[in-house]
């Protein structure tokens, strides 16, 4: 690779569309979510700079580490969480199917990286002397049983249809054929519901249910560590939404527009804007779900996921395989 190429890669990874862009978009997405939920609840909501102000405030606070905790692990683990989510974002094609970081099997890598935030919470709760921490950790692990398998299966269903483990191949399939939301609608529904569980949003936010166990695993953490955890949640929301937008909603493709702009410079730019809009649409859906429902207990959540997520997605895969053989 030429020297310019390495510099270009570094720019991609750290600035755009990598880490800096992801964090900035994460802050904007958080504002978008909070403002939307507020308006749905008939109140004003925060101004656009609120998430940024929260970050700055948290970064300025005293960082307390309890005696019970292992300093090394507790300082390192939030960084791992944020880093894994940022790494996953690199493999989401944002403006076209010619994505520099794509490779065969990158869908599996994304799924793997997105499981790390749950373990970050588990470790942080484990190292918390607070009983709320251990209760929260137990709930995080139990909740994993509810959403992890359906989420993976739902994202692999389009892969089975398109016969490839590469995200950009799924994009090409959608360009040639139809968007996956029309081909495997059950998988879309399962993916969105499982994403709500992964992000620990209402109705599946019992691991950090404020009125029951204060903040769950995150109770004892403040200052820089809490800022990193919040950033991890925000960026995870962006990555999850962008992934579903790209895989199910056609990504950068817009009927008519894409073929018209194919080959030109405007093509990727417009594609990028389209992906952003679709991601915000997904976040809108997540906010709507948050405003509509109450919080489920942990066993209610796992039971619901078994009945309404795991079984339907298995049936969907069965149907795909049968139709494929036919």
């Amino acid at each position: 690779m030429e020297p310019g190429g390495e510099l270009m890669s570094l720019f991609y990874i750290l600035i755009f569309p990598g880490f800096a862009f992801l964090v900035a978009f994460g802050l904007f997405a958080d504002f978008f979510d909070r403002k939307l939920v507020a308006r749905l609840q008939n109140r004003q909501g925060p101004p656009w700079y609120q998430p940024l102000a929260d970050m700055i405030k948290l970064l300025g606070k005293e960082d307390i580490i309890t005696d019970h905790a292992d300093r090394g692990i507790v300082n390192l683990v939030p960084l791992f969480g944020l880093a894994s989510v940022a790494a996953a974002f690199l493999y989401v094609p944002l403006w076209s199917a010619e994505w520099p970081f794509a490779f065969t099997g990158d869908l599996i890598v994304i799924l793997y990286l997105l499981t790390i935030p749950a373990f970050v919470l588990v470790l942080l709760g484990w190292y918390s002397p607070n009983p709320f921490g251990s209760l929260g950790t137990g709930r995080v692990i139990t909740q994993l049983f509810g959403y992890e398998v359906p989420f993976a299966l739902a994202l692999l269903t389009p892969a089975i249809v398109a016969q490839s483990w590469q995200v950009t191949d799924l994009l090409r399939f959608q360009l040639m054929d139809t968007w996956f939301i029309a081909v495997v609608p059950v998988a879309f529904f399962v993916a969105v519901a499982a994403l709500v569980g992964k992000l620990e949003r209402i109705p599946f936010d019992t691991p950090h249910a404020e009125t029951e166990i204060v903040e769950g695993p995150m109770t004892e953490y403040t200052g820089r560590k809490l800022a990193l955890l919040k950033m991890m949640f925000q960026t995870e929301m962006v990555v999850g939404s962008a992934l579903i937008a790209v895989i199910f909603l056609g990504g950068p493709y817009f009927p008519g527009l894409t073929t018209a702009l194919a080959g030109t410079l405007a093509g990727p730019v417009v594609g990028f804007v389209v992906v952003l809009v679709k991601t915000l649409l997904m976040i809108f859906l997540l906010s709507l779900i948050k405003a509509l429902f109450a919080r489920l207990r942990i066993e209610q959540m796992v039971n619901w996921c078994l009945v309404w997520l795991t079984i339907p997605i298995l049936l969907q895969i069965l149907i795909i395989l049968v139709l494929g053989a036919v």
Binding site: Q41, P131, S134, L135, I202, A209, F293, A294, R295, R297
Partner: protein, 362 residues
Amino acid sequence: MGRITFPIGPQHPALKEPESFKITAEGERVVDADVRLGYNHRSIEAACQHRNYVRGQYLCERICGICSHIHCNTFARAVEELLDLEVPMRAKYIRTIVAELERIHSHLLWLGVAGHEVGFDTLFMYVWRDREIVQDLLELISGNRVNYGMATIGGAKMDLTPEIVSKCMEGCKLLLERTEYYKGVATTEGTFLKRVEGVGMLSQQQARELGAVGPTSRASNVPNDIRHDFPYDAYDQIQMEFEPITSDLCDVLGRTIVRVLETEQACRICLDLLPRLPEGDIQVRARPRVPEGETLVRCEAPRGELIYYMRSNGTDKPARVKVRTPSLANWPAALAMLDGAYVADVPITIASIDPCMACTDR
């Protein structure tokens, strides 16, 4: 599975006031629950004994912010009984109307808090927005959103002008519509029902034995309502049909439904009494020195039966003022409900008796 003991309180996001619970849980089930009260004890009963009756009434009104009028009213009624004073009918009507408006405000507050405890923040925001209607009415009537001071020893402090009466009627009609909506939400919203159905069971037998009062006992099919059983103020003047509202569900959903229906009933009582306000004075003069005697008055506060025992000794200071607030009566029932409950259900179960620690500890 290992047992873990964790505290809820005295400071906890689930609690609006300090009280300390020690919950021992095995996994997600509660095996033991213990409560320590007394964080809000201000020795109001002792303080009343060296203050005269007027200052004592002012003090007792501030036992609680949410049910302040009923304390003020019951204290006044107790002194009036000791003085053998007959309060004018117009004053009785005014006191009753303010008491019912206070009931609406208290139940709507509770519904919002219940929504918040189960993570249903949208319900919380909507209900508290609608609660502003009744808060505006109370501010219009008395000048205050809490601690109205509408009942004095001898009558009511402020009169209701015709404009106030018409505004109150408009407000009550609007609240009736909104209560219909919340009835629908409480009975049909899926995730909310999942969190409140079958939670916090209290059988009828337990409710009777443990001395539960108010909506807590009425939701276990015990039809106790002091307004109906021992009518006071203008409750015997109500022309519409007035029966205690009960439910046989015995769980948090039952208590929710009872409170929402009581809000509706309170709106209707106001709409019934407001147009028929009798003419006349609103106060009679009361002597500062109260002859020797003792009396017991009961009333139905938003949370249940409120009882004042008062003894006088011929001076202008009472010899004994005893207040038993409904929240204190409901604590044994709350602890019985926690037995075998899920840890996640502890906040909503405790919230379902509508605990008011300021009332409990006095």
